[in-house]
C-alpha cells in the first residue's frame, strides 16, 4: 500500500547549508496495517507525511502509494492520489461556518460526488464516529474530541484505503484520546491502512501496533507490536 525505497529529502536552509530531513529511508506498509511513526520534533515525521501526499517530492528514492508511483505521477492526477488518502490534522481544520454534516459532506461535494451518494454516506460515517445527534451543530459548539471525530469522519467518508493522522491526539486530553484511538482502530479493522505520527507514549504503548521510529531522518527502529520507547 505504501512503500519508500531509499528515500532522501534535504531542505536548503541557506546558500550552502542543508538539513537532512530523511536519509535513505526504506519502509514497506501493507494494506490494513496500523503503523505509528514516532520520534522527536525534527526527526523527519512531518517530512514523511508530506511525501506521502506529495506535498513535497524527494531528492532521491522511489515512493509508491496506493499503486501510484509518486515520482512519475502527473500533477493533474494528484487529486486521484489525494482521494485515496484521508488526512486527519492535529488542529482538526474544520470549516467554522459549516455544520458537522456540511463539513463531512463538503469532502464529497468538492470531488463531484452525486447527491445520492452524499445523502447515503454522510449519515453512515456520522453514525460510525457517534455524532449523529450533533449533525447540525457548528464546530465551536463541540468539544475537542468531538471536533476531531468530525475531522476523522471527513477524512474517511470517501472510504480511502489509507488514513494519515498527524498527531491526532496532540490537542486532546488522555481520556478523550482513548476514544479517538478506539475510533481509528475500528476504521483500521475495515481493512484501511492507518499511519499515525505521534508523540503520545501512552497511546503507542497501549495499542501495541507496529512502531517506526525516526531519529535525525533515519529509521532507527521498525518493530511489530512495539512500544514508544525512545524517551527511555
Amino acid at each position: 500500500m505504501i512503500s519508500f525505497e531509499h528515500v532522501t529529502k534535504t531542505y536548503k536552509t541557506g546558500r550552502s547549508d542543508e538539513v537532512v530531513a530523511l536519509k535513505d529511508v526504506t519502509i514497506e506498509v501493507d494494506r490494513g496495517e496500523f503503523v505509528f511513526v514516532v520520534g522527536p520534533s525534527g526527526s523527519g515525521k512531518s517530512t514523511f507525511m508530506k511525501l506521502l501526499t506529495r506535498e513535497i517530492r524527494p531528492d532521491r528514492g522511489d515512493i509508491h502509494v496506493a499503486g501510484k508511483d509518486l515520482n512519475t505521477l502527473r500533477s493533474w492526477k494528484l487529486p486521484a492520489l489525494r482521494r485515496d488518502i484521508g488526512y486527519v490534522f492535529q488542529d482538526f481544520k474544520l470549516l467554522t461556518n459549516k455544520s458537522v454534516y456540511e463539513n463531512v459532506a463538503f469532502a464529497l461535494e468538492v470531488i463531484g460526488m452525486p447527491a445520492s451518494v452524499i445523502d447515503a454516506r454522510v449519515p453512515e460515517v456520522l453514525e460510525l464516529v457517534d455524532l449523529t445527534a450533533k449533525a447540525d451543530a457548528k464546530p465551536h459548539e463541540l468539544s475537542g474530541g468531538q471536533q476531531q471525530r468530525v475531522s476523522i469522519a471527513r477524512a474517511f467518508v470517501n472510504q480511502p484505503p489509507i488514513l494519515l493522522c498527524d498527531e491526532p491526539t496532540g490537542n486532546l486530553d488522555p481520556q478523550t484520546s482513548i476514544g479517538i484511538m478506539k475510533l481509528l482502530d475500528r476504521i483500521n479493522r475495515t481493512n484501511t491502512t492507518v499511519v499515525m505520527a505521534t508523540h503520545d507514549q501512552h497511546i503507542v504503548d497501549s495499542m501495541r501496533k507496529r512502531v517506526i521510529e525516526l531519529s535525525h531522518g533515519v529509521v532507527v527502529r521498525d518493530q511489530a507490536r512495539g512500544v514508544y520507547g525512545y524517551a527511555n
Binding site: 487529486p79 489525494r82 463538503f106 461535494e109 447527491a115
Partner: protein
C-alpha cells in the same frame, strides 16, 4: 449540476463578502469599457458619415457677382459649363443660382436667426456644383479652372470633411488611450481582489486540495468572481452608453441636420464590444492572479 451550483454560489458569496472591493472593480471596469465603447461608436459614426458624404462630395465653383471680382458674363458661364461637362474628371454638373443658394442656406440654418439676418438673398454667390468621378481629383480640377475669368473661388468639400474627420479621429484615439490606462488599472484591481479572496478562504481551499478536489474546482469560484464583476461592469457601461449616446446624438442632429447619425439600434448594438473584452480581461487577469497560488 451540483458542481456548478457550488461554483456559482461560492463566487457569489465571495463578491458579497467583499462588497466594497467588488464595487471598486465594477466601477473601474465600467469606466474603461464605457470609454472603449464610446470610441467604437465614434468610429462607427465616422464611417457612417463618411460613407454618406463620399457619395455626395462636391466641388463648388463659385461664380463672380461683382462683390469681389467682375461679374461673370453669360458667354463665359455657358462656356465654363460646357467645358466642365466635357471634362473626363467630372461626373455631373449642377447649377445653383443665387436664389437657390439662399433658399438652401435658410433651410440648413433655420434655427440660427442671427446668421439668417446677416445674409440676404443677394449675399451668396451662384455656383456650379460638381460631382467628380473620383473625389480625390479635386485639386486637379481646381488647378484647371481656378484662374478662369468669372471664377471667384473653388472649394473642395473634401478638405472640410477631412478636417472634421481628423478632429474626430484625435478624439477617438484620446478616448482609446484613456480607456487602455483605465483598463490596466481595472486588470490590476481584479487580480488583487481575486488574490485577497483566495487568501481569505485559504482554510477551505486547503481542505479541498487535501480531499482531492481538482485544480479547476478549487480555482473556478475565484476566477468566476472576477469574471462576474467584469460582466457587471460591461452591463453598466452598456446602460450608460445606451442612455447617454442617443440623447447626445439627438442634440447634435438638431444643429447638424444633414449629418447621418447612428440610430438607437446601432448604439445598443455596441454590447459585444463591451461584454467580450470585459469578460476576456477579467477572466485572464483572475487566472493569472491565481497562477501557482492554488496549485495542488
Amino acid at each position: 449540476m451540483r458542481r456548478w451550483s457550488y461554483i456559482f454560489q461560492e463566487a457569489g458569496n465571495g463578491l458579497v463578502r467583499n462588497l466594497w472591493m467588488t464595487v471598486a472593480v465594477v466601477l473601474s471596469v465600467t469606466v474603461s469599457l464605457a470609454l472603449f465603447g464610446a470610441s467604437v461608436l465614434l468610429r462607427q459614426q465616422i464611417e457612417k458619415a463618411t460613407d454618406d458624404w463620399v457619395g455626395k462630395i462636391e466641388v463648388s465653383v463659385y461664380l463672380c457677382d461683382d462683390s469681389n471680382c467682375p461679374a461673370i458674363t453669360e458667354d463665359q458661364q455657358d462656356q465654363l459649363r460646357e467645358e466642365l461637362e466635357a471634362n473626363p474628371l467630372v461626373d455631373e454638373v449642377f447649377y445653383e443660382s443665387k436664389e437657390a443658394a439662399y433658399a438652401n442656406f435658410l433651410e440648413y440654418y433655420a434655427d440660427l436667426e442671427t446668421m439668417a439676418q446677416n445674409v440676404g438673398p443677394d449675399t451668396l454667390p451662384a455656383s456650379f456644383r460638381i460631382k467628380l468621378v473620383d473625389p480625390n481629383d479635386a485639386a486637379a480640377l481646381r488647378a484647371q479652372y481656378e484662374a478662369r475669368p468669372g471664377v471667384e473661388q473653388i472649394v473642395d468639400q473634401q478638405e472640410v470633411i477631412e478636417q472634421f474627420l481628423n478632429l474626430a479621429s484625435t478624439v477617438r484615439w484620446a478616448a482609446l488611450a484613456i480607456a487602455a490606462i483605465q483598463m490596466l488599472a481595472a486588470t490590476v484591481l481584479v487580480a488583487n481582489t481575486v488574490r485577497v479572496a483566495a487568501v481569505a478562504r485559504r482554510d477551505q481551499t486547503q481542505i479541498m486540495k487535501l480531499v482531492g478536489a481538482s485544480n479547476w474546482y478549487v480555482r473556478l469560484p475565484f476566477i468566476l468572481e472576477g469574471t462576474l464583476a467584469g460582466l457587471a461592469g460591461a452591463v453598466v457601461a452598456w446602460a450608460l452608453l445606451a442612455f447617454s449616446v442617443p440623447y447626445l446624438l439627438d442634440t447634435l442632429q438638431d444643429s447638424l441636420p444633414f449629418v447621418p447619425f447612428l440610430t438607437n439600434a446601432q448604439v445598443l448594438g455596441v454590447w459585444p464590444w463591451l461584454v467580450v473584452p470585459g469578460l476576456a480581461i477579467t477572466s485572464i487577469s483572475s487566472t493569472v492572479a491565481l497562477w501557482g497560488f492554488l496549485d495542488v
